[in-house]
């Protein structure tokens, strides 16, 4: 016969005010198998926990039910208390009298009845609980950071500085990401490249960091502490060991008119190129779509120019498999392009540009050497209109969220323009100014008050061209919706921040969730913001939601801290609440018939196969086997299994059935 102890918590007034806890405790005494039952004001307090420990020792309990709050809140607390008293922690169950009963009902007799029923369920369950031992898994102490922008660089440096190995993966030819494209950064207006490039160089030189640029994650399997990543290293067509980065090949390349992605299409690059002069690594890449050698099979000027014979036209993509223990996703963002706005001419007017293009125009290393010039005719604009919330907070564009960074960078753009052209006019159309952040509001005020940027609250309905000017039609909603018309030379759209290209594909490859817009989903919006729901995969930067640089760097540090904390242990302890395929005596071995429908149903790829052979090594039976390191205990396989061959430890079919039948 079981010896169960029931402990009913009042949770102060939370449960006690609507449930008669004393009565519940008294009724529980009558339940078969219950030998001890008491109530207390705060079970989670020290005296409360002592009551449980004392009862276990004195009464020799073999199961404990704590009727209190949600197990999410205090299950670890009570399980620890129970194990301190010498009982297996998994012989302790919680009945949720707070969220499931007292908070949602009035004070009536039936509320107390329901509370009793909830306890009864758990009493029946705990009778069938089995002692479980935590699962130990080894950890590979190498981290994989995906994305070489500021988030990835920061996370990689922080992990590497704690003496852990890092593989930093970047799909473009150079580290740097979007931050390398920026001119100055708010709110201090320091030069973006000046603060980023030292970090890029540090990341490249760090003895603990293996840099893999021009490479992408192809495939991922495994689980926390034991991932196996397949990386596709794309062929640069250049021997990286021989290349000295002298740049002679770049000068000789005859294909010169290729739109430059780094300069957002405002400049030209060649077919063999380095994205920008400060690129890390400073090794060129041959763009085989445009290179004459690959298109026409005849040019070899770069080969002739190269003093170290580093050009390798025959070089092929490589697939490299690495073992890693944790992954930081820092894949960044993209912005909506100006051609997605019918009201602003679908990108037909070259002088309507987006924020990143303006950054390149304002950058000293940009295509205009920092002089703001119109893309159409190269004239310096006298009037610029900046539109905040272009696409953001606009359900019709599919972006309901605030892109967060636009208010600040629009103020910065207007300010930079006014600094470069003090007599020019800068107008900003905005919906609200969201400048929450250290020194942020002061920055916006400075743009308005000191630099004389005209802020107009309202949206722009249409932009069209007339006599070489862009006519911006909007309304000033602070003046009762009075129509406003501005003749501008250039319009800058602060377009919405969106998940990067390929983000959803990546999410599928590595089995992390995405929110409705395609940003990676965090495990908990408040309490676990840098973790994903897949253990061992962490988030940094704008791949999770729009973020500015300070936040991105802070989050990257947070993700790095999580990785380092994981790596500080030699083995990983996991909850043993995992599914298992049952075993039967031979010749059945298991109820599993090996149909493997569970294999496709498992969202964590935790199901593999196990074979039983006879003495001669002849295959006797093939059945499913669940990897306890990968299993998250979701129970999908249990529901899928027709023969009920799979059961979930801690939530077995028998336990659930007994719970239901107790009602």
């Amino acid at each position: 016969m079981s010896r169960i102890g029931v402990f009913v918590c009042h949770c102060g007034e939370n449960i006690g005010s609507t449930v008669d806890c004393q009565e519940v405790a008294a009724r529980c005494k009558q339940m078969p198998g219950v030998v001890h039952s008491e109530d207390y004001k705060y079970m989670c307090s020290d005296p409360g926990q002592s009551m449980i420990k004392q009862a276990i020792e004195e009464q020799g309990l073999d199961g404990v039910v704590v009727a209190a709050c949600s197990p999410r809140m205090h299950e670890p607390t009570f399980r620890r208390a129970v194990s301190e008293a010498g009982l297996n922690p998994y012989l302790c169950e919680m009945a949720n009298l707070r969220e499931h009963c007292s908070w949602v009902h009035e004070e009536t007799d039936s509320t107390t009845d329901k509370a009793t029923d909830l306890v009864h369920l758990q009493v029946e369950k705990v009778k069938r609980n089995k002692p479980l031992q935590p699962i130990q898994v080894p950890i590979t102490k190498t981290a994989l950071v995906i994305g070489g922008g500021v988030a990835g660089i920061q996370a990689a440096l922080d992990i590497a500085d704690s003496d852990r190995k890092v593989i930093l993966l970047e799909r473009s030819p150079s580290l740097g990401g979007h931050m390398a494209q920026l001119s100055e950064t708010f709110p201090t207006l320091d030069c973006s490249q000046c603060i980023l490039t030292p970090k890029m160089v540090e990341a490249a030189r760090h003895p603990n960091i293996t840099l893999m640029t021009y490479s992408e994650l192809e495939h991922l399997e495994g689980f926390i502490g034991n991932f196996k990543a397949t990386i596709r290293k794309r062929a640069r067509k250049i021997d990286e060991k021989l290349c000295t980065g002298c740049g002679l090949c770049l000068q000789k390349c005859p294909t010169r008119k290729i739109s430059d992605g780094f300069n957002e299409g405002l400049g030209m690059r060649r077919a063999i190129y380095v994205p920008f002069p400060q690129a890390v690594p400073n090794t060129p890449v041959i763009d085989i779509q445009n290179c004459s050698h690959f298109r026409k099979k005849k040019c070899d000027r770069c080969v002739k120019a190269c003093p170290t014979d580093a050009i390798r036209f025959e070089q092929q993509d490589e697939w490299i498999t690495v073992d890693v223990g944790a992954i930081v996703l820092a894949t960044g963002f993209k912005i909506m392009r100006s051609d997605q706005f019918p009201e602003y001419g679908y990108g037909a007017y070259p002088d309507i540009i987006d924020g990143l293009q303006f950054e390149r125009l304002a950058s000293a290393s940009g295509p205009t050497q920092g002089v703001i010039k119109r893309p159409s005719d190269g004239k310096e604009p006298e009037t610029i209109v900046f539109l905040a919330c272009a696409g953001s907070r606009d359900a019709a564009k599919g972006v309901k969220y605030c892109s967060k960074i636009c208010c600040m960078y629009t103020a910065k753009h207007a300010m930079l323009y006014k600094h470069k052209a003090p007599h020019g006019k800068a107008y900003v159309f905005y919906m609200d100014i969201r400048a929450a952040g250290k020194n942020y509001d002061e920055f916006v005020r400075r743009a308005i008050e000191e630099d004389g940027v005209k802020y107009i609250r309202g949206r722009v309905s249409r932009i069209y061209e007339e006599d070489g000017k862009l006519i911006v039609k909007g309304a000033d909603t602070l003046l009762g919706g009075r129509p406003v018309e501005i003749k501008a030379d250039m319009v800058v759209l602060a377009t919405a921040v969106q998940p990067n290209d390929g983000q959803i594909d990546l999410a599928r490859k590595i089995h992390v969730g995405c929110d409705e817009y395609g940003f990676f989903a965090e495990a908990h919006p408040k309490l676990r913001p840098v973790e994903t729901n897949t253990a061992g995969i962490y988030l940094a930067g704008a791949c999770q939601s729009p973020r500015d640089i300070p936040e991105t760097v802070a989050q990257a540090g947070g993700a790095a801290a999580k990785v380092v904390a994981l790596f500080s242990r030699d083995r990983l302890t996991r909850e043993p609440l995992v599914a298992e395929v049952n075993r039967r005596p031979s010749p059945i071995y298991s109820d599993c018939v090996g149909c493997f429908l569970c294999e496709t149903a498992c969202p964590y790829q935790a199901i593999g196969q196990e074979t039983v052979t006879d003495r001669d090594g002849k295959l006797y039976k093939t059945m499913a086997k669940i990897n306890p390191g990968l299993c998250q205990g979701c129970g999908t396989c249990v529901a899928t299994c027709r023969t009920k061959a799979i059961d979930l430890h801690g939530y077995s079919n028998e336990q659930i059935y007994a719970e239901i039948m107790s009602l």
Partner: protein
């Protein structure tokens, strides 16, 4: 029929297969399964329009497996079962030699699952016209009428499990119905237990039923129980586009999701 006998004789004589699973003459014109293990007894094999039973159920039986490599006289239902069994890894790709017999008696050897797939792609077959008519009739009834219909039908069930035994997809060694810790479904053949049994069976066959109708034929009290599993199967086909018994590669709608699924909640 002669072509079939000759082929079976040849295969057994050459030792290519150890057993030919086919039909022989039973009493009163009924065709019953037979297991021909020697070339001489190939003469027992019969093929005519009365050979409608699905023999594929025998392929997963341990006592039949013990005979050695089988050849099976196959109509389209058998071929569909064969594919689904391969998809569910109950049979190896080339473990069974299917002898597809056409209306005119021409025998085609289908040694691999791929060959079966190709053969079925030309003439998939499916529910008989009579069954189709019954299905349509049921679909036209109101929900309450359908409920009454099934209650009345299932009332007669004696839980002999003939439907389960005859079904080629009910190959589990230990059926949920036999599970008694916990006892999911009550054993006696009362109305509730019967309903539970047949609903669970239909759900277990949704997305897996090859629509051979064998369960309905096997029922000693004449419940058209195959209509329930066929309906479940057709619902899955309608909703998800997947159909059991068309491919040798597992494509189980109820256990997996596709990235291009029309429902977005699962992402």
């Amino acid at each position: 029929m002669e072509a079939l006998r000759t082929k079976a004789k040849e295969l057994l004589a050459q030792g290519e297969v150890q057993v030919v699973i086919g039909y022989e003459a039973g009493t009163a014109g009924v065709r019953r399964p037979c297991f021909v293990r020697t070339a001489e007894s190939a003469i027992r094999l019969v093929w005519d329009t009365n050979c409608i039973g699905n023999l594929a159920g025998y392929l997963t039986r341990p006592e039949i497996k013990r005979f050695g490599k089988p050849a099976i006289v196959a109509n389209n239902a058998v071929l569909r079962s064969l594919l689904q069994l391969v998809a569910e890894r109950q049979l190896q790709q080339d473990a069974v030699l299917a002898l597809a017999v056409a209306q005119d008696g021409v025998v085609t050897e289908l040694p691999t699952a791929q060959a079966v797939e190709d053969y079925l792609a030309i003439s998939p077959g499916g529910l008989s016209a009579a069954d189709r008519e019954k299905m349509e009739h049921l679909a036209q009834l109101s929900r309450e009428e359908r409920w009454t219909f099934w209650q009345r039908e299932l009332e007669r069930c004696i839980k002999c499990y003939a439907c389960r035994s005859s079904c080629p997809m009910c190959y589990c060694g230990h059926c949920t119905m036999d599970c008694n810790r916990p006892q999911w479904v009550s054993v006696p053949s009362h109305a509730l237990g019967n309903l539970e049994y047949h609903t669970v069976r239909a759900m277990h066959l949704a997305g897996r039923c090859v629509q051979c109708g064998e369960c309905g034929r096997a029922c000693p009290v004449g419940i058209p129980i195959h209509l329930l599993t066929c309906y479940a199967e057709e619902s899955v086909h309608r909703q998800f586009g997947q159909q059991a018994g068309t491919r040798a590669k597992l494509d189980y709608a109820l256990g997996a999701f596709r990235p291009d699924d029309k429902e977005s909640f699962i992402r």
